[in-house]
């Protein structure tokens, strides 16, 4: 039996209870092609069942809900199943199984959590903020896993009083810090007015990036290993263009660079100066370079201090 659930923790725990004794259970929050005769059920969250399940699991392993919260952030198709097999093993053994890496369920869950934490760590470096005319900062991101809110405490700590928005573009949600409150909010499309200096700072940054490169040493495989091409989309330094500038770039790397170039079109448009027309199709862009109305910009940005806008969802303290 295939158990579809909506990706939430409550729905997962409900599905977990239903599927626990089903030897062929498959839990998924994504799409799954059914084979002929295969049965499936869409599980709705049942708060009572979920609470009971959570309580029991916590008795067996007090850290298992932390693991689950990471596993459900995974952008991989089998995220429900990885979490299911891992928690089922805890329930079967009646104790924590963390560290029993010879077990498939444990090693897969551990590896999945490692990848999610790695992406959150990488994004702490690869997020790029654009400064808006109001002084607030806006950063579009496109992570594989749902890690946007994990980044909130990090940036809140360092930016202090400066409001910022981390916009998870594919998921249509944003992690917001308004200078006093941190919250998550749905955000499909944002229009912002860039500050007058923004284009100048980006140009300086590009100049710095190109100047700090040692042209005699091309190590593109290493570069892409540390900074995978999927993160290049919103980088103002435009690594794909920098690769194109290298005299000794090897053929395979150039091929990668070319595809990255195409992918970067949307990102570059984002970094266009506020008076320049955007050259990318508007439906791919969360933000237009062209100056929108001040009201639209205000709507897209975090409210000022003490604003009555209620938090859409609790974020990390």
């Amino acid at each position: 039996m295939i158990y579809f659930f909506d990706g939430s923790k409550e729905a997962f725990l409900t599905a977990f209870l239903l599927a626990y004794r089903d030897g062929e259970a498959l839990l998924t929050a994504g799409e799954k092609q059914l084979s002929i005769g295969q049965k499936s059920v869409f599980v709705r969250a049942d708060p009572a069942m979920a609470a009971k399940c959570e309580r029991r699991l916590l008795e067996l392993d007090k850290r298992c809900m932390d693991d689950l919260s990471f596993l459900l952030r995974s952008g991989e198709g089998m995220r429900g199943q990885t979490a299911f097999l891992y928690l089922r093993l805890i329930a079967q053994r009646g104790r924590p199984v963390r560290g029993e890496l010879a077990e498939d369920a444990v090693s897969e869950a551990t590896e999945c959590i490692r990848r999610i934490k790695l992406e959150a760590h990488r994004l702490k470096g690869f997020v790029r903020f654009l400064e808006c005319a109001s002084g607030a900062l806006y950063a579009p991101v496109s992570p594989v896993n749902d890690v946007c809110d994990l980044l909130l405490p990090h940036f809140r700590g360092r930016l202090g009083h400066i409001p910022f928005v981390l916009h998870d573009v594919p998921r249509g949600k944003a992690a917001v810090w308004d200078g006093a409150h941190a919250f998550l909010a749905p955000l499909q499309h944002a229009e912002i007015v860039l500050s007058s200096d923004e284009a100048g700072w980006q140009a300086l940054w590009r100049r710095y990036y190109n100047a700090v490169t040692l042209p005699s040493r091309a190590r593109l495989k290493q570069m892409k290993g540390y900074m995978p091409v999927r993160y290049w989309k919103f980088l103002p330094e435009d690594p794909a263009a920098a690769i194109g500038d290298l005299p000794a770039a090897d053929a395979s790397a150039n091929a990668g660079g070319a595809s990255a170039n195409a992918e970067c079109a949307a990102g570059r448009a984002l970094h266009a100066p506020s008076d320049a027309p955007s050259d990318a199709p508007s439906d791919t862009l969360p933000v237009k370079g062209r100056a929108p109305s001040p009201q639209a910009a205000r709507d897209a940005l975090p409210p000022p201090h003490g604003s009555p806008r209620p938090p859409a969802a609790p974020a990390h303290p």
Binding site: G99, E100, L101, A102, D104, S107, E111, H121, K124, G125, F126, V127, R128, F129, L130, E131, L137, A139, H154, F155, G157, R158, L159, G160, I162, D197, G200, W201, A203, L204, W205, R207, Y208, Y209, A211, V212, T213, L214, P215, S216, R217, A218, R219, L220, K221, Q222, M223, Y226, M227, L235, P236, E237, P239, A242, I243, L246, A249
Partner: protein
């Protein structure tokens, strides 16, 4: 805003400095902008495979010294520029705000005099910390022969300071950097080390180099062998309490009859970093790795070379071997050793288990048994060929520094590998 051309000149002059780590400081944001990230953070990577973590700049490239290997040397005809403290501060804060960088790496050519240069650097960092209320990471270069009081003042505002040793012996320094001496580089390093220890012992308020000191040596510009370089490195870790020693492959950026005309192979630099890691994290002594008058082998990594010289110690059984021995198995790093230690508490590990746990067996299988089973090559000469062939493929893309990996720090005597505060050290690659 600083002029683009000036930024280009000052960056191109600073780019041969290898150090770019931003780890080791837990400075808090006290009402301004920025904080320290103890594990460090890379913000971008350039096509040469190096990370961009800090805004690496020279305050000025207008130098009165005439070091033969340096592109900013007095007798070299290059465009010169000098930035103002305000320009550097505003650039740092605006780049930081946009999350381009983790902080500032400020160095300088010796402009006018050592004291004047050091004074300018200290003034800039003070301005950044006070007027701009910047609490992010600052790495400050020490200027040789500058007044010790100025240096100590800088250490109160910077997270890390470094004096570049440049060349591994006094003789080479005299030949290639006549205005610098071992004394002018080593003694401020040792003095800062003493002052930092005193600061920590007295638990004074404020900061004094929370991220310690590092240094850098050029490899291949002078005739010193790897054995000599690594002995110097080991003594620096022990006596000067350095966090890292960086190695920079010599690249001929200026022509001089005293300098080699060809660049030093990047692979040599890579082998030195591998040996450096073995000294700091794997419990090796330099005597075990290479003799003083010899170079490290280029065809295989230093750990493999050691294992081939000590085949009587292998194979080791992964289910029983102590941590210290697991760490000495070629191909098993700190993270894999930790995984094995954790998993073998519950079951007898086989090769299938190790594969599932993503322990890389390409090299390790020749040196281990798993539940009594051996899957490697026993014949030593054939094994060396196998290991060298495997390494050749990797070496084609040799990284200049090793990548991040989990686990712990050690002193040469003990290996408190899983001590809580040690995990950070291993993630950052620093003591």
């Amino acid at each position: 805003m600083i002029a683009e051309e000036k930024l280009k000149i000052l960056t191109e002059s600073a780019r041969y400095d290898v150090s770019c780590s931003s780890s080791g400081s837990g400075r808090k944001n006290e009402g301004g902008i920025g904080n320290g990230m103890p594990d460090g953070c890379c913000h971008s990577f350039t096509p040469d495979g190096r990370c961009v973590s800090l805004l690496k700049l020279l305050m000025s490239n207008d130098c009165i010294f005439d070091c033969k290997y340096c592109m900013s040397r007095r007798s070299h005809d290059v465009p010169r520029a000098t930035a103002t403290p305000e320009e550097i501060c505003s650039l740092t804060v605006d780049f930081y705000k946009r999350n381009y960088i983790e902080g500032l790496f400020l160095s300088s050519a010796v402009h006018v005099s050592p004291d004047a240069t050091m004074e300018l650097l200290v003034r800039t960092v003070k301005l950044l910390r006070t007027k701009y209320r910047f609490h992010g990471y600052v790495h400050l270069k020490g200027i040789p022969n500058a007044d010790p009081l100025l240096v100590s003042e800088g250490a109160k505002y910077a997270d890390r300071m470094s004096y570049n040793l440049e060349l591994p012996s006094e003789r080479s320094l005299k030949l290639l950097a006549p205005q610098k001496s071992k004394e002018s580089l080593l003694s401020p390093m040792l003095r800062l080390c003493r002052e930092r220890a005193l600061f920590q012992a007295e638990k004074r308020k404020g900061f004094f180099l929370p991220a310690g000191q590092t240094t850098q040596m050029i490899v291949g510009a002078s005739p010193e062998r790897d054995g000599c370089i690594l002995r110097l490195t080991e003594s620096l870790y022990r006596t000067a309490g350095l966090k890292r020693v960086y190695y920079s492959s010599y690249a001929p950026v200026v022509e001089d009859a005293l300098l080699p005309s060809v660049p030093s192979p990047a692979l040599r630099e890579h082998r030195l970093y591998q040996a450096d890691w073995l000294l700091r994290f794997y419990g090796f002594d330099v005597e075990e790795l290479v003799d003083e008058g010899e170079d490290l082998p280029l065809d295989i990594d230093p750990k493999c070379a050691w294992a081939l010289r000590n085949m009587h110690l292998f194979p080791v059984e992964v289910n029983r071997a102590p941590l210290e021995m697991l760490l000495r198995v070629p191909g098993i790093g700190a993270r894999s050793a930790q995984k094995i230690l954790s998993a073998r508490r519950y079951t007898a590990l086989t090769f299938d288990h190790l594969k599932k746990m993503r322990v890389v067996l390409k090299r390790a299988r020749h040196f281990i048994t798993a539940n009594g089973q051996f899957c490697g090559e026993e014949h030593a000469p054939a094994l060396r060929c196998l290991l060298a062939a495997g390494d050749a493929a990797e070496a084609a893309d040799a990284p200049e520094q090793l990548s991040l990996f989990a686990a712990g720090e050690h002193t040469p005597v003990q290996l408190p590998l899983f001590a809580q505060d040690a995990a950070r050290s291993a993630r950052t690659g620093e003591l």
